[in-house]
Symmetry: C2
Subunit: 238 residues, 2 copies
């Protein structure tokens, strides 16, 4: 068994993902929001690349059956029910509901996982549950960072590093250079993973945009045991 | 002024490199070999993407005017004069000569720098000279890692991190998440950068392939002051 970390979605291109388990990480904020929604009883999330696609899919459902969620440039999309803040995805709002969901980086990464046999959504919130699930599958694991606009994002790399650390401590695994680098980055923040979020470029952007509270919500460790799984265009609980 | 580190060549795609200084890093071994050749009096290096292109360019020169150098899967190409080991690029072999040069990852990265106003070749061997040159230009800097087969390579990231550390210590620079991550990786090897090369996947591959000596040659710090520059298809001394 082998653990690998990819830093940007482009690293997954031209790669046979075949019999691998890919753990998708977009800490600020898509992964954290999806995990929160699923933990709060959301039935299903349908990620889309564009706003237009989200609206089109919405037309195929009856009113009241679904919610539209997501962001562009960090903010809720006009006419949508929910943005991309975990704080919005409360049991009152999402329990038993489908959410059609579009974000900038997270959706791009999900598309890049095409061909992988297992794709799960990871975050600090469900870190142990998602990592244990991957470990128990016994397949090679790719911890895939969403990054920020096709670039490295510190918070994703720190989360991948913490997962890789956990995997290496639990099993007899070989690791790629990417996994080793991610672990070294994580170790610099191991006493306080929240600091990685506050230090990151996207973290600073969100603080300036008025979402400082989301950094705290996205850095809570192991508060959920749900492991959302992406398959055939839908995210559901395993 | 800002310092950025890109971990894989794909990060440079779809990006306007305009008025930037890009420092190209392929520690094992293209950058180190180019720096060694230039320090030993090589007149010019012409990098090519394919073996065929190298042979074609060779036909436009007279016999004795040039050498063919490079590797595929780590080894010298059949019929070529030189491989991709710095040890081969001695003054006796390369002084006053042109070298037509093809390697797997290094050449791909050079192609990805298209559009950048300044492209220099960096390595541990000329780390201070290349970094000082970039600093004195006063432009934003991208430390661009070649990686290994479109994937993160530990030795390149450690070298980029050491350069970023140097830049941040010398000037009032802002840094990207990539630069910060690279610095954290470098700091884990700061007492012995050679250990980063020996730990890396490509380093282990080269040791198994019989090139252990090259890891030592490529980890020598600041033994050269030459700053090779890539412009319009040619690498020359600045």
């Amino acid at each position: 068994m082998r653990v690998d970390v990819t830093v940007v979605p482009q690293e997954l291109e031209q790669r046979d993902l075949g019999d691998l388990c890919v753990v998708v990480l977009d800490v600020l904020r898509a992964s954290s929001t999806i995990v929160t929604a699923m933990a709060n009883g959301c039935e299903e999330i349908i990620p889309t690349a564009t706003v237009e696609e989200a609206v089109e899919i919405a037309h195929s459902y009856g009113k009241g059956e679904f919610l539209l969620g997501g962001e562009r440039k960090g903010n809720k999309i006009e006419g949508f029910d929910l943005g991309n803040s975990p704080s919005e995805y409360t049991p009152e709002r999402v329990k038993g509901k489908k959410v059609i969901f579009t974000t900038t980086n997270g959706t791009r990464l999900l598309k890049a996982t095409k061909g992988a046999s297992t794709v799960v959504i990871g975050s600090f919130l469900n870190l142990e549950a998602a990592t244990e699930y991957a470990l128990n599958l016994g397949k090679d694991v790719i911890l895939a960072c969403a990054g920020d606009g096709r670039r490295l994002a510190l918070e994703d790399l720190a989360c991948a590093g913490m997962m890789a650390d956990y995997l290496v401590s639990r099993g007899d695994l070989s690791q790629s250079d990417g996994a080793l680098a991610a672990r070294l980055v994580y170790q610099a923040f191991r006493d306080d993973v929240g600091r990685a979020l506050g230090t990151s470029e996207h973290g600073k952007f969100l603080i300036n945009a008025g979402y400082a509270g989301d950094l705290e919500l996205c850095s809570m460790l192991n508060v959920h045991t749900v492991v959302p799984c992406f398959s055939q265009g839908h995210i559901v609980r395993i």
